[in-house]
Symmetry: C2
Subunit: 90 residues, 2 copies
């Protein structure tokens, strides 16, 4: 079973109240090294077989049409989740 990761972030010029809340809370918890925060979405889409180039193309199209609002959001990543395994433990 394959899995595709799709990630969407608010465009830089769009106000992001959730990110603002995070950046306000971080220093109160002692995390003073962070100067900004933005909050977006991560989707994991499952397919029966492998993540082929066709599946990635379909995921990219779904990302642009269903999973994001192109007026206020950018699709920042469409990738095979199995390529991510190494990063998780990093």
């Amino acid at each position: 079973m394959g899995r595709v990761v799709v990630e969407v972030m608010p465009k830089p010029e769009i106000l992001d109240p959730q990110g603002k809340a995070v950046v306000g809370a971080l220093p109160r918890l002692g995390f003073t090294q962070f100067t900004g925060a933005r909050q977006g979405k991560r989707f994991e889409l499952e397919v029966e077989g492998d993540v082929t180039p066709e599946v990635l193309a379909a995921a990219r199209e779904a990302a642009e049409t269903l999973l994001s609002n192109p007026v206020i959001e950018d699709v920042v990543r469409v990738a095979d989740a199995s390529a991510e395994a190494a990063e998780v433990s990093a």
Copy 2:
């Protein structure tokens, strides 16, 4: 300026109504290859300097305490965003 990406997903056993809505909408839009969908969060945290191991450690701590609810969510990724550039265009 460095940027750290933190990603959080609902635990597999936790009901995910947003993911359910996505998986219901996909076939209606012609995307019949996807059999499941989950929706989580992606955060981008900015730092003044480079993303050092100390910054990543702080981001990991912030991810576990502020950015996720460990009862219902898993932190699936904490990484330097600059390592991601290649994937975006993939």
